[in-house]
Amino acid sequence: MKFLAVLGLLATASGAATTGAELRFLSCPVYRDTDAGKKSGCWLATDPASGIRYDITTAPTKADWNRAVLVEGRVAANPADNPCGGVVLEAARVSVLDRPCTRHMLPAEGFPGRKFVLPDRNVRPLYASHDLPPKPWVAQNFIIPFDFDSDFITYQLSDYYLDRAVSYALDVRASRVDIMAYAATKPTLVSGERLAEDRAIARSRAERVRDWFTMRGIPLQVVHIRWQDAKVPRPGPETDMLVAPSLRVVDIRITPGA
C-alpha cells in the first residue's frame, strides 16, 4: 500500500492513486494542447474525491471541453508513463453528459501527448477482403457496450463489436437475431451524486442495434428485440473488465440459418 501511495505522489501533487483500482467520478474535463500530430491532444479530469488529476485520453469517446464527463477506468501501473500530465487511466471510459462546464485549455507545458495509432478495435473497410466463417456455423453471442445514458454507437469501440455481430449474421444468413438491451437504472453514488440511467435508454439501445441489422440487410422479421433493467454486472473484454460499464450493454445472439 505504501508503495502504491508513493507512485501516486510521484504522478500528482495531492492524494494517492491506487494502481488497478476501478475509479468512477464526475468531472469537468480540461484539454491539454499537446502536439504529436493528428489526434494527439490530451484530456485530463480531476477526481473531486481525491483531487487527483487523471489522464483520460485513451477513452474511445473523447471529452467536450464545454461539458461534464463521467469517467470510469483503472489506474495504470506504470507511473513513469506520463505523456499528458496526469495519472494515466487505462481501460478508460468517458461519457459526455448534458451538463455545462467551464471551457479550459492548458498549454502543452512540455508534455508530449500521444502519437495517434489506429486502435485495434476498428471497423475494416468494405474493400478489405473477408472470409466466411468456417462451417459448421454455430449460434454466437456478442456484447455491445454503451456510454452512460447514451444509445450512440461509439466509434472504434461499439461499432467494432456491432460490425462483427452484423457481419456474422450476414455470413451465416441468420435465421434469428435476439437482441436484449440493458440500462443501468439502479442508482449508485458517484462523486456524491446518485447516478442512474434513464430506463428508456434500454429500449433506444435495442432499437438502434436492430436498425444496424436491418439497414445492413437482415430481414426485420428475423430480428427480435427486448429490453430490461440491468441487474448483475458481467465484466468482459468489451468493457475491458470494468464493472460499472458492463451494466450498459446490449446482448446479441445470432442463430445461423440453414
Binding site: 484539454y31 485549455m105 473497410p125 461499439s158 461499432d159
Partner: protein, 502 residues
Amino acid sequence: MAAFNFRPMMWPIAAAAILATVGIAQPPSPPPDRWWKPDEGRRFPAVLDYENDYGVLRTLLIGGPIETRDHAFFRAIGPDGRACVTCHQPADGMSLSAASVQHQWQAVGPRDPLFAAYDGSNCPSLPQQDRASHSLLIDHGLIRIARPWPPLDQNRKPVKADFTIEVVRDPTGCNLDPQWGIDSARHQISVFRRPRPVANFKYIEAMGFAYDPKAGMPLPVDPDTGKPVSGNLMADGRVLSLQSQMREAAGTHLQFMKAMDRKDIAQILDFESRLYVAQQTDRVGGALEADGAEGGPRKLADSPAGRLGSQGVAIWSEFAAWEKPAAIVKDGSAQTAFRQSVARGARLFRDRTFLITDSAGITSPVGFGNPVRNGCAFCHNMSQMGMDVAPGQVDLGTTNQPFADPAPHLPLFRIRCLGKPHPHYGKMILTSDPGYALTTGRCADVGRITLQTLRGLSARAPYFSNGSARDLRGIIDYYDRRYDIRYTEQEKQDMVNLLKSL
C-alpha cells in the same frame, strides 16, 4: 472575383480537342462561346480542355465522345428552355462559375434560360427584367433552392422537427413572400446554393465503410433500391441517389412536371458515370502530370474510389514527385518554384494540424473530442478526391453565426431547438442555411453541409455551398480565421497553389 477573360488561347484548346476526336469528319464550326446552350447539338469529345484563370481544366469522357443532340443532359426540357448543362457547364468544372453567369447576363440578359424566374432569380415574384432580381446568381453564383417545411422524409412524409424556424432577415423577399414563403401554401424555405460539380461520381458514390461514424449508424439506405448509398450528394444530403436527384432537378430547376422517362435517366446516368474533371495544366507550373506528378483527371479515372488516404494512398501524394529536387530543376525558376510550392501545400494539407472546435459532425455527436487536433485531411480524407469517405455532413460554420462571414445578401433564419439544445450553439442558432437540418429536422444538424469534391476548383469560383469564399485564397483565409491556424504568408500561398492544381 476572378475577371472573366476571353484569352486568345482558349478556343484553340477546346476546338483542338473537339477536332482531335472528330478527326477529318465534318468539323463542327468552332463554338461561338465557351457557354453550352441547351439543344446546341455539339459533340461532347472524349477529351475537352478549357482555359481558366490558372491554367487548363480537362474533362475526360471515358468510353468516347457522345452526340449531345437529343441527349437528356443537354436537351431543353420543361417550359423554361433549360437543360442540365445550363447549370453544369464543362468549362466550369461541370459546376457554374459566377464569372460565367456574369458573362451570360451581359451577353444575353434575362432571356437566357439560366435566369429563369423559378430559381435563377432571387424570387420568382420579383420583376424578372431587373438585374437586382438576379443578384444572388450574378454576383455570387447562387441558385435558389426551395425546401419544404416541415422537411419531408425519403417517402415524402413530413418529419417532426425538433426546432422551429423564423425569418430574421429576408433580403430576397422570398421567405416571407405570400406565394413562395414559409407561410405561403407552398410552405417553403428558400436557401441559396452553388451548383455542385457533375463529375467524378465514382468517388462521390463510393462507399469505403459500411457505416457512418458521424451518425453511429450504417450508411443510409436508398428507398428505391433498398441498398446502402454513400450519403454524399447535395449540400443537405436530401437525395440519396443520382436517380432521385434527377427527379428532383427535373421538378425544380427545369420546372418539368412530367417524370423523366427511363431512357432519359439511363442516358444521364451513363454520361455522369463517365465524366472526370480536374485541372490539367498550370500556367506557371506547366503540365500537372509532368515529371512524375500525377495531377489531371486521368489518374482520377484510373484509381480505385472511396479509399481512406490515411490507410492507403496519401491524399495529394499526386504531387509527391515534385518534392524531389531532380524532378523540378528543368524549366526555369518560376515553374520550379511553383511545383515545390504545390508539393509543400500537399504536405500542409495532410500534416499541418490545428484545433478543430465546435464543428458538429466531427466534434459531436461522434466522440472525436471537442476540440480535436487534426488537419485538412481529417475531413477531406478520400484519396485522389478530397471529399469525405463517410457521409460528409459537417458544420464548418460557413452558414452559422458566429462563424459565418457577414452575408447581408442572404436570408437569415432564427432556429430554436425545442428539445435538447444544440451541442455547440445552445438553444438558439442564427443561420443563413440550416443545411442538413432541412433534411433531418434535427437542430443538432443545423449548418452541417456535405463536403464537395476538391477537384477542378480553379474553374468554379466562388466556393463553399453559399459562395462565401470569393476565390481560393478566400477559402484558406476562412479556415485560418475559423480554426485560428496562423498560417504564414508562404504557407497560404502554398495551399492556394495546391488548390489551383487540383
